[in-house]
Amino acid sequence: MRKRPAAERRFNAGGIADRALGTRDLPKIEAGPTDYSLLVAVILLLGLGIVMVFSASAVMAMTNFNDPFYFLKRQAVWALIGLLGMTVLMNFDYWHYKKLAPAIIVLSITLLVAVLLPGIGRISHGARRWIGFGPLTLTPSEPAKMAMVIYLAYLLSSKGYKIKTFFRGVLPPVLLGLGMFALILQQPDLGTGLTVMGSTFIMLFSAGAKIWHLLGLIGMGIPGVFAAIFMEEYRRERFLAFLDPWADPRGSGYHIIQSLYALGSGGPFGLGLGKSRQKFLYLPEMHTDFIFAIIGEELGFVGAMLVIILFFFFAWRGYRIAMNAPDGFSCLLSCGLTSMILIQALVNIGVVTGTLPITGIPLPFLSFGGSSLVFTLASVGILLNISRYCTG
């Protein structure tokens, strides 16, 4: 990477807010090389994901669709779309989002509202999460996470934003997050809602909010989370099953137990690719939320560890981009996007290993699911774009 003059460093004494809101005010920055190592890690995760989606879903696909390649084909198409989107965004300079941020958040909220409307939102598995465009379906909560990160990066890096204050600094983003959380919860999709809230808090933290403000809010939020858990029958059961899955092994503890069975069966080196037994319809959501369990079963500890190492590498590169970001906005944006992806990874692996209660969060890059994949790759595209303008 080329050295930049010290004068060009974006972090000035005036605070994290950019000196100018408009792109025209930005100094001329020459684009550096892209962080290809991050790209490689993502491609590796994506490739492994496609293979594992096929392996995990083949039996189920054969059973339900009489086509073992049903999910593979779809995931491959989504991956291509996602890679295309990533390439586009990689070459779309990040500062344009500052202008687009308000529009993005409005569009996202509109979609979140729309999906709840009968006739627009499609119901599947008891949840109204999808909006259909012909053969394609969109899960509005996926772009919502990204939109939230972009908007908060814009908001918190805006000139004179009083991040250190509570009512004018910390509270507005939290209220926005809660609003989106409430909308997503209507689908209902607690997992994505929590991801949004998690991302919101991480962005506030990154932007320099006072720790005790955040801790106070979290302290206030915990009873709310428990209320959300215990007001809904299935959430309560899931939570109790997390505490003791073996209390009801054929009922609420079933998912966790089957997931642990898969991981346990894998042992150090796994049963071998394609040799999972738990995918024979024992483990539900084997190709989506529980794909990590199938990885653990077929590829063993070695395969599962590889996934964790790749996410660690992703974290390193992602936060490195944030630390070396050219300005406050890009710093917050890259920090938020990296955190958003990692929150999902941590929670997903936590659920699969029985460390956290079941929340229904996909594993980024690996789980089957078009919207998730496309928008995760889009986020990577933004990160890669910022990486070109990193210093040091």
Binding site: R9, I16, A262, Q278, I308, R320, M323, C331, C335, S339
Partner: protein, 747 residues
């Protein structure tokens, strides 16, 4: 705001990275813990969860008689089961309807079973071959067949009270089946197949076959032929005297081995449910009777052993005797003056009252106890009862007097026979037992039951003297009808009035006879009891002839040489004052000459009557100067002259004196067209049980190899073979899709 510098932002990003790293590392540790530490356990549990079990029953051991003849075998039959998880709701109705049609079970009841939240449920156990085939052809989802073994008693009700019965799970419920259940049962195995969550087999699924450990085989001390002879005679008794019941035990007095044990009414253990439950009661073991005069040898043994009387001591009987509190009558109007031996011979109550009173309660009880009449014998049959006896503490002379000739006390038949056998065995009481050996499948000896002496009860001398006295009973006394030509038999008749609710009932009797022979070297001891015979009721009239008849056949079958010293011993006894000289042969048939009197022209070689019809066999036997007795297989059965002789006693080639009666055993179901040879049927594709039935019906014997359905047979179908030929049939599990359940070769 100095804290919100870019430096601060970087620091916070670094902090986030650190926290993320720590979380990832934590998850990695957790993952390692699951995959390494919990791995084996979870993997096993997961497999268990995916596995569904189909139980495989262990083959229950065979019960053989002492010569290796099968008395109880296990045949493979199919049982229908369901794995509810495999039946999709849309198929439920169809499956239930189809099953209902084939099995004749109401659909509602089937639906209850088919929807049970269990992994395995029986639909119908042990169905016949035809039903099994129809179920197999239907190929219903979630419905399967598994081979189970069904207990099969090829000899029908022969020795039913010894063998007992088994339940639907082949668990021993009664008899030897119960006592030796653990050895016979073995350990069940299972077939476990890995299924997917909707119950279909997973491709390349783990099939685990846990082979059952088959049960051990038992060899009884019972001899099928002797058992048959006894049962034949019991049937005759039942029909002749319209008796309520009858029982008999035959024992080797020197070893305590039970050679036969039978009771009437009997039942067919194959279909025991069709008989009243009380028919399964074994009076020999489970019931105590008033022994009556058959008890007298015990009193006699006591007084002889104690030296209170000698063989020549004299007793006077004037028809009754006064004891404090009562006058006791003899069964006769008065025997006059008689010796000890005569008193036994005459079964004189008055003499025995005297003996009892001379003994006194203490000595009396000492011998009753020594003969084992106050405790169970320990025979290997379930539910052994014990006789009832007055408490020795405060018995009055009248009690003692009455007990001396066997009234007011009760004993079980097995107790009584054991006690009498002690007299035959030179005074040593042996423990009766029914099992000789327990062998593993490969023939290895697991347990051998050795003769077990309980104690010496009386001296050898006393035993010998008593035996001679008891011989007089048969020679010239109340037991004359038990006489067996050519053999010295000792015995004692018994006629007891039954008491109901403590009161003696006049017209209800138990006639019995107990004895042994030959006296000089006892090989067989036997007790026969007839419960409530009609018409005649004296033991000498009812039980003694049956005893003699069985004894004759048994001694002949056991090839016991005729007693050479019969005359001399008898003379010696008579020399000491026993009247009745010239009794020899008085009831005997012409062939009862001592061997030393036999000329070579009197000895003939026994011809073979095997595989001949009864008509032909009779002709052959008569030509050789011998008789033929084909007996009654069961009472009242008309003998079909065309039925075929399966077995004969003595065997062909044996040298016997002219006039000896050959005993022939006929086929169980003689067919009209039966001739010497039969055509081997084609039994391929049939189950073991069906094959056993088919072959048994035409008099062929089955040698089972393997399990499942018949695949090959030797000789091949259509071959003409003599009846009784062993047909070797190789059985294999049907269908390649069925899990292999072949077990290691069975003996």
């Amino acid at each position: 705001m100095p804290s919100s510098t870019g430096l601060d932002l970087r620091r916070r990003a670094l902090l986030l990275f650190s926290v993320t790293s720590v979380c990832l590392f934590g998850l990695l540790i957790r993952l390692g813990y699951i995959q390494f530490v919990l791995g084996a356990e979870l993997s096993e549990k997961a497999l268990d969860a995916r596995m569904q079990e189909v139980p495989v029953e262990a083959r229950r051991g065979v019960i053989y008689d002492r010569k290796g003849r099968e008395l109880a075998i296990s045949a493979t039959v199919d049982s229908v089961f369901a794995i509810p998880a495999q039946i999709k709701p849309k198929d439920l109705d169809r499956v239930a309807l189809a099953l209902s049609e084939v099995l004749g079970i109401p659909k509602d009841r089937l639906l209850v079973n088919l929807t049970k939240p269990v992994s395995f449920v029986w639909i119908k156990r042990k169905v016949d071959e035809d039903t099994a085939k129809r179920i197999r052809d239907l190929d219903l989802p979630g419905i399967g067949l598994t081979p189970e073994t069904r207990r099969f008693y090829p000899k029908g009700n022969l020795a039913c009270h010894v063998l007992g019965i088994v339940g639907i799970d082949n668990q021993g419920l009664e008899g030897i089946e119960l006592v030796y259940d653990k050895a016979l049962r073995g350990n069940p195995g299972k077939i476990v197949v890995e299924f997917d969550a909707t119950g279909r087999k997973i491709p390349a699924a783990t099939h685990r076959y846990i082979a059952p450990e088959d049960g051990c085989n038992l060899m009884l001390t019972v001899d099928e032929v002797i058992q048959f002879m006894v049962e034949r005679e019991l049937d005759k008794l039942m029909s002749t005297y319209s008796a309520k019941g009858a029982c008999a035990v035959v024992m080797d007095p020197k070893t305590g081995e039970i050679l036969a044990l039978a009771a009437r009414p009997g039942y067919d253990p194959n279909e025991y449910a069709k008989f009243p439950d009380e028919y399964r009661r074994n009076p020999v073991i489970n019931d105590a009777f008033s022994p009556g005069s058959t008890f007298k040898p015990i009193t006699a043994a006591a007084v002889l052993e104690e030296g209170l009387v000698t063989k020549v001591s004299r007793f006077y009987c004037g028809g009754s005797v006064k004891v404090p509190g009562a006058t006791i009558s003899c069964w006769s109007s008065g025997h006059g003056s008689q010796t000890f031996v005569d008193a036994v011979k005459n079964s004189c109550n008055v003499a025995f009252v005297n003996m009892g009173l001379r003994l006194g309660p203490d000595l009396f009880y000492k011998y009753v106890k020594a003969f084992g009449l106050t405790q169970v014998t320990g025979i290997d049959l379930p539910g052994e009862a014990m006789g009832i006896m007055l408490e020795p503490g405060n018995i009055k002379p009248v009690d003692l007097a009455v007990m001396s000739f066997g009234q007011t006390l009760t004993v079980t038949p097995i107790q009584l026979l054991s006690a009498i056998s002690a007299i035959a065995n030179d005074g040593v009481l042996m423990k009766p037992h029914l099992v000789k050996e327990i062998r593993g499948l490969d023939g290895t000896l697991i347990k051998e039951v050795k003769p077990e002496a309980v104690r010496r009860v009386i001296s050898q001398e006393t035993a010998k003297d008593l035996a001679l006295a008891m011989e007089e009973v048969v020679k010239a006394g109340t037991g004359k009808q038990a006489y067996v030509p050519g053999y010295r038999i000792a015995g004692k008749t018994g006629t007891a009035q039954k008491s109901v609710g403590g009161k003696v009932v006049r017209d209800k009797h138990i006639s019995s006879f107990v004895g042994f022979g030959p006296v000089d070297d006892p090989k067989v001891a036997m007790l026969i009891m007839v419960d409530e015979p009609q018409g005649a009721y004296y033991g000498g009239q009812v039980a003694a002839p049956a005893f003699g008849s069985i004894m004759k056949d048994v001694l002949s079958y056991m090839e016991v040489p005729p007693s050479s010293e019969e005359g001399r011993e008898g003379d010696r006894l008579r020399g000491v004052g026993v009247p009745g000289a010239g009794m020899l042969g008085s009831t005997g048939a012409p062939q009862t000459k001592g061997p030393e009197e036999k000329g070579p022209e009197d000895t003939v070689e026994v011809p073979s009557v095997l595989n001949l019809t009864v008509e032909e066999a009779k002709r052959v036997a008569e030509t050789a100067g011998l008789g033929l007795d084909v007996g009654d297989q069961s009472s009242g059965e008309r003998i079909d002259p065309k039925s075929v002789i399966m077995e004969q006693i003595p065997p062909p080639g044996a040298l016997v004196s002219k006039g000896t009666v050959i005993i022939g055993f006929r086929t169980l179901a003689g067919s009209a067209e039966a001739v010497g040879k039969v055509s081997v049927p084609d039994i391929r594709g049939k189950t073991i049980r069906a094959v056993a039935d088919i072959l048994g019906e035409i008099g062929l014997r089955l040698d089972v190899k393997g399990s499942g359905v018949a695949r090959r047979q030797n000789p091949s179908p259509g071959t003409l073979v003599p009846r009784g030929t062993v047909i070797e049939v190789i059985f294999e599990e049907p269908g390649a899709e069925k899990p292999k359940t072949e077990t290691p070769a069975r003996e």
